[in-house]
């Protein structure tokens, strides 16, 4: 598997390594520089002490022109391996001795040997006798000047040229040591970082995979294992989940609205058509009736009129359910109205072998027209009984809550097929032969006209219809 450089699975261990490396280099640098600083201080302190210690003998050597003893003192037991370059200068400004005689020759003018050296006679410098000055030379970083005096008269000057050169190898050792230690740490950190990176990134990868499914799949059925928890990634997962839920809700709402509009349109068309058919139908039936009463008819005519009347009544029977008229006349709904419905359905329940649980409590007359509510309840109850036939059960719960009537009817038994569940209130005449298939459609029309809501939900073998009808504000007679 090849990973892009932008992958956190690479960037995390690399970042860890860079951090470790940077830290180690910083620490090594700090330690190295501190060591260098300490060594420099020691060097200066030693040089000052050594210079003062040698002063007396060097004064004597200068006065007695004893080059060798001055040289052997400056050279010391270590020969020319000393850290400092010592230069003894006579009062004439010429070099008298040095521990590096090859470079600082006897009798050479100091001004020629060290052209960058400020003049000793300059006022500020004479005051700084025995002080260490900084020198900005490639091989000299610090400079000590000691005036050598005999009886108050200057007989010469001792210079110590101090350099960082002896300490550079030590500094390099510290840095290399730090680097090696870091590489050792990196050998451990890199695999750990790799594992950690994978662990950290895994929920993000899952989230990304899940996001990729949005738009391709039904949001309401989208199931992802998104990360949870208080961490940033957990919060991201939570927000993503909330967003998906909101989207799903919005989609459902849109679908519902589309459905409502469609049902409303179908309802209007159906009612219009039913009206148009019903009106002449009524006229024709009345005409046949009149004709029969006012004329004396022979047998074939009577048979023909009966045939016509039955056919027209059949048409009327077929069309009338389309003519839902919720706001008709009528009285306010009472418990008795509902009990009537129970009585009406009882034979069918017995025939279908369905057990009914009846939990209807209506304290007083309710501000809803009784007729449409009775029809609504009857349709729903018949529908439930039909679904529960052959050993199922039906449960009816009705009550008021605030300014609304709540009806819940649930049944066990054959569940609604999914395609039906998606559009439960559309007419399905073809599903049940010998029936109009308009029962639920009528229910929907009634509820809508009463300004309420109806919804269906299915959970396993249980199908439940819930209706909420707002009570009429103006009341009913």
């Amino acid at each position: 598997m090849s990973l892009p450089w932008s992958s956190y699975r690479l960037r995390l261990p690399l970042s860890l390594s860079v951090a470790a490396l940077t830290t180690a280099i910083c620490i090594a640098l700090a330690v190295g520089l501190q060591t260098l600083h300490n060594l420099r201080e020691d060097q200066v302190r030693n040089a000052v002490a050594q210079g003062h210690a040698m002063g007396e003998v060097l004064v004597q050597a200068l006065r007695q022109d004893d080059v060798w003893s001055a040289y052997s003192l400056l050279r010391g037991p270590g020969g020319a391996s000393s850290d400092a370059v010592w230069i003894l200068v006579g009062s004439t400004g010429r070099i008298f001795a040095s521990n590096y005689p090859r470079r600082y020759r006897l009798d050479q003018l100091l001004a020629d040997a060290l052209p960058w050296l400020p003049d000793q006679r300059a006022p500020g410098i004479a005051a700084a006798n025995g002080q260490v000055m900084l020198a900005d030379q490639p091989d000299v970083q610090r400079l000590l000047r000691l005036s050598l005096q005999s009886d108050g008269i200057e007989v010469g000057e001792l210079l110590a040229l101090l350099s960082d050169a002896p300490y550079r190898p030590r500094l390099r050792e510290i840095l290399i040591g730090g680097l090696l230690a870091t590489l050792g740490v990196l050998a451990v950190v890199m695999p750990l970082g790799w594992l950690w990176g994978r662990r950290m990134v895994a929920p993000l990868v899952r989230l990304a995979d899940c996001m990729a499914r949005v738009g391709r799949e039904d949001l309401r059925r989208l199931r992802c294992s998104v990360p949870a928890g208080d961490s940033e990634i957990g919060r991201l997962g939570g927000h993503f989940y909330a967003m998906v839920s909101a989207l799903a809700k919005k989609e459902a709402l849109e679908q519902q609205m589309i459905q409502s509009e469609r049902l409303a349109a179908v309802g209007r068309v159906a009612a219009g058509v039913a009206h148009e058919v019903n009106n002449p139908l009524g006229g024709m039936l009345m005409a046949i009736d009149n004709y029969r009463r006012t004329r004396h008819l022979d047998q074939p005519t009577v048979q023909l009129l009966d045939l016509l009347g039955r056919a027209l009544q059949q048409i009327q029977g077929a069309v009338s359910p389309l003519l839902v008229e919720a706001r008709g006349d009528g009285h306010a709904l009472t418990q008795a109205d509902l009990e009537d419905v129970r009585t009406l359905v009882q034979p069918k329940l017995g025939k279908s072998g369905v057990a009914l649980t009846w939990e209807v409590v209506l304290d007083a007359a309710t501000a809803l027209p009784a007729a449409p509510v009775r029809q609504l309840l009857l349709n729903l109850l018949l529908n439930a009984t039909q679904a529960a036939r052959g050993g199922g059960g039906v449960r009816v719960c009705i009550g008021t809550q605030g300014a609304a009537l709540l009806i819940a009817i649930e049944n066990t038994g054959e569940p609604m097929p999914p395609e039906r569940l998606a559009h439960p209130f559309e007419p399905y005449p073809e599903t049940r032969p010998h029936q109009t298939g308009l029962g639920l459609w009528v229910c929907y029309q009634i509820v809508t006209q009463l300004g309420g809501r109806i919804e269906v939900e299915a959970a396993g073998p249980v199908t439940r219809f819930r209706v909420r009808l707002p009570l009429l504000a103006e009341g009913l007679p």
Binding site: D66, V67, W68, R75, P101, L106
Partner: protein, 287 residues
């Protein structure tokens, strides 16, 4: 005969005549022997062994007195504070009236040595004349090989030995002169051939940084001389012991330690050349 047995013998003798004896009284006066840097450095162990051997031979303690400058030993010798000393031929000829030659060491079969003119191994100089205007290390103002001869050599070239070099200084020792040249403190130096050869054998790394560019004629080797304090009667036995050192096993080992063959009694004529050079320079006021 060892020193202890002799002391026992003396004590026994004195006890025999019935006199109370104290060791301090019975102890003979030690022979005071001055040593100058004509010998190679690091000689403490050798001097300890040599004083033991000499004391045993002479029947009296021998005390070595060391000074870093020839002049100090010479002063002690002339003032009678030491009995004899191993000095250079140059101070001998200067004070020969008051000094007596006891013996002369033999180096490589002869009582002779040379002055070597040395420069740093990487120096381009090929002769003394190339060192003009340079830095030069003298060994000691009372040294023949390290001072008198090179000055005479310059003088014979018609130059002023005091102005020939830009700057000179004294190292107070031949070995130090070698070091001064090896470490580039001086451009050149004149050293005792005996010291240089001994160093070359014992410490080749020291002389490796130097190169001999001139060798002087042979001169009489730095002699062992008696000062006014040494009784004439004592001179004979001392000459005898020194001359016989090469025949004694322990004595020969000691001689080998300082790269000498032995000691021989020589006449003052051996130092005629040195005396002539000293005189020539003294006439010019250059000594």
């Amino acid at each position: 005969m060892t020193r202890m047995s002799r002391r026992d013998f003396l004590a026994a003798t004195l006890a025999g005549v019935g006199s109370l004896s104290l060791p301090a009284l019975s102890e003979p006066f030690p022979l005071r022997f001055g040593i100058t840097p004509v010998m190679p450095d690091d000689r403490a162990r050798f001097l300890g062994a040599w004083s033991g051997w000499l004391a045993a031979q002479l029947g009296r303690p021998v005390v070595f007195v060391e000074r870093s400058r020839y002049r100090e030993i010479l002063d002690l010798l002339l003032r009678g504070q030491i009995d004899l000393a191993w000095i250079c031929g140059y101070p001998y000829v200067q004070h020969r009236a008051r000094l007596t030659l006891l013996a002369v060491p033999r180096f490589r079969g002869q009582p002779l040595y040379q002055s070597y003119l040395i420069v740093a191994a990487d120096s381009p100089a090929r002769s003394l004349m190339d060192l003009e205007g340079g830095l030069f290390a003298w060994a000691d103002p009372d040294s023949n090989s390290g001072y008198l001869y090179p000055r005479y050599r310059i003088f014979k070239e018609g130059r002023d030995p005091d102005r020939f070099f830009r700057r000179t200084f004294f190292t107070w020792g031949h070995r130090r002169s070698v070091a001064a040249v090896a470490e580039d403190l001086a451009d050149g130096a004149a050293v005792d051939s005996y010291v240089w050869e001994t160093l070359a054998r014992r410490h080749p790394e020291v002389v490796a940084a130097t190169r001999i560019i001139e060798r002087s004629p042979q001169f009489g080797f730095p002699p062992l001389v008696a000062g006014p304090a040494l009784a004439v009667a004592d001179q004979g036995p001392i000459r005898q012991v020194l001359a016989g050192q090469g025949d004694d096993t322990a004595g020969r080992e000691l001689l080998a330690d300082i790269d000498l063959d032995g000691f021989r009694v020589e006449g003052p004529d051996l130092y005629v050349d040195i005396a002539r050079m000293a005189e020539a320079l003294a006439v010019q006021g250059l000594s």
